[in-house]
Symmetry: C2
Subunit: 388 residues, 2 copies
């Protein structure tokens, strides 16, 4: 008789022990939720009209398996759209994926072998860590300071094959990677023949200075794989994102999709292509830019008024703020808040190492309007007071 | 200076060298195409009405991230639907995935570690091999004879963690796994503490005797992971399938989705849930059963009339036939046919080992109606004559 092994493989057990995401919480979007945009302002009427048009015009061919790269009209629209990030690519370089997370998963399976080292931000995005686990990579944590990833910690001798970064709005700290650091990171990739996966999440909404060009735009060597998502600009349930990959990798990335999900559903792809082509997308981005500026301002004012021992760090871009907390532990506040039906995540949640953790809360400000946001700040101030 | 490594990792290179799928061929569905159902008969009008209803009734909550397992109403409908396969499960055991291929990919990442042995059918489904590569598994090829997988070749000492099988309609040979073999396979899994992944593709359409109960129905030990798909019963571009997993694995499977695609898009899920709930699905299956019987009969008669040296094997179920070829190599016929814009795949395409390969063609009979199917058989007979 064979000794009974664990139910899951070692990798399986690691994957199964991922922290439950905040997003699994039931119920409608709530104040401070991370990763949820202003779904209350999504133009459902236009979306519904487009759905009708796309389903009506479907042909048997459209119902069959389609291009592994995604719908050509959508890839063309994306290639056009990313010019706003200062970069250029052809539609052939665009691969439509089932969300940025799936793009990360695909890229890591192609670029590393089990045991290979991957540089990861500390603190960082749990999704990147999960994809690393699935691909069997070895984590090299690189700290993040006020200028973003401390690139000087990367050396050729470390055998790092890939660096996963969030340069435009570091997750979770929210800082942009400085221009000198961007240049150093690209120089390191060139010297080390390593790849950089640039997760450009949250790049579309800005509240301060002009944004820096994305790494992809600064990279003359084709070492950057760019990752974009429609989860924040449209909505998360769409599950659509895209990769921009160097020409010489396109064929490999497409073949590798046969091992997993082939291509995202055709209907969503055709709907988004039309939404972009008809100008709805640009219009929606402009409206959301205004709405998020207003919601951020509401958060700022409500926090100042509340007298809570919280200080908001500068918010350059994106959909969440970091608020330093004084005199009480953020984890404790988070627990007290949860008892009061308030979702608020401590920054410490996103560290993996044993190093010092900043005592701060992450506050999403996109999910609800100014009024419920102000009410939530009041509630949070009370939860902080009750946590002392 | 570091020596320049290959662009992709070793795993990446293997994934990138997957054979180009037949389904990447452009153009509308054509005779003999594999894996493509009768898209010309899909009820687009009902589908369009459902799309309108689902988009109209979307709320902000529906646009947000949703349950990792998939929409509850869809999971309930699937749990009900699989009773036709002789099995029972609760909605909690159903996990909606982005196609059966993605389900295979997810299951293998959880159940094996790199280097673990997995029993695979020879000849077999290339998608299963691709998922095995992505998960880093070691292939143990097990031959298939007229009764399906030669289960007697599996022994406890081999350290096999998982067996991937297509019991209801072996891909590509089309034979069902016999009842004694089903029992032996389950006994082997129990003794070896191994898992069986039952890919029940093509189970919905039958032309001969009553089907055998699926492995999942025969399994008292919870060692079977059942894989279903809507690609053949609805359409491939939908990219929806499902897993039925033992209770104790559900939590792990859900967490592991965070590393990749989280959940399929909400819109498709709600549309399929409504399509099932409103009875469209059962009606469509009945109509397709009749259509496929007619198309298979048209293929049979046209082949007999054509005088081509092809003999059709019995077709128990599914959407393709195997035709043995005499006097000329199937690969050669396939190449000649391709020059004449005719898609036809040799059986040899699906062997991986060096063993003997049967000289036969795979003929999908679902994608087009009787008339174009008959014309294609004429054309195929000419291609065979020209290949001698």
């Amino acid at each position: 008789l064979v000794a009974e092994p664990p139910l899951l493989s070692a990798r399986g057990q690691e994957l199964a022990s991922a922290p439950a995401p905040d997003r699994r919480r039931p119920g409608p979007p709530r104040a401070f939720r991370l990763g949820t945009p202003a779904l209350d302002l999504f133009p459902l009427r236009s979306w519904s009209r487009i759905a009708r048009q796309c389903v009506r015009s479907a042909t048997p061919r459209r119902l069959d398996y389609s291009a592994l790269a995604g719908l050509l009209s959508l890839r063309e629209a994306i290639a056009e759209q990313v010019r706003s990030r200062g970069t250029r690519c052809t539609a052939e370089q665009v691969i439509v994926v089932a969300g940025a997370q799936r793009g990360l998963d695909l890229a890591l399976h192609l670029l590393i072998d089990p045991g290979d080292a991957v540089a990861m931000e500390e603190p960082g995005y749990p999704g990147a860590q999960a994809a690393l686990l699935a691909a069997g990579g070895r984590r090299l944590s690189v700290p993040v300071d006020a200028d973003g990833l401390e690139v000087a910690r990367l050396h050729e001798g470390q055998g790092v094959r890939v660096a996963c970064v969030t340069p435009s709005h570091q997750f979770p700290l929210g800082v942009p990677l400085s221009l000198p650091r961007r240049q150093s990171l690209l120089a390191w990739a060139r010297r080390s023949h390593a790849w950089v996966i640039e997760d450009d999440y949250d790049c579309d909404f800005r509240y301060q200075a002009q944004p820096l060009p994305c790494l992809h735009a600064l990279d003359p060597d084709g070492r950057v794989i760019y990752l974009g998502s429609f989860s924040k600009t449209l909505f998360p349930a769409l599950r659509l994102g895209y990769l921009i990959v160097p020409h010489q990798l396109v064929g490999g990335f497409l073949r590798a999709r046969l091992a997993s999900d082939l291509h995202p559903p055709a209907l969503e792809q055709s709907m988004v292509a039309r939404f972009l082509a008809d100008g709805h997308y640009q219009r929606h981005l402009r409206r959301m830019q205004a709405a998020y500026s207003e919601r951020l301002e509401a958060l700022r004012q409500a926090m100042a008024r509340s007298g809570a021992p919280l200080s908001l760090r500068p918010v350059h871009s994106g959909l969440h703020a970091v608020a330093d907390l004084e005199g009480v532990a953020a984890e404790r506040v988070s627990a007290t808040a949860a008892e009061r039906q308030l979702e608020v995540v401590p920054l410490s949640h996103y560290y993996r190492g044993d190093g010092p953790r900043q005592n701060a809360l992450l506050l999403g400000f996109a999910a609800v309007g100014p009024r419920p946001l102000r009410a939530a700040v009041e509630k949070l101030a009370q939860a902080i007071a009750a946590s002392r």
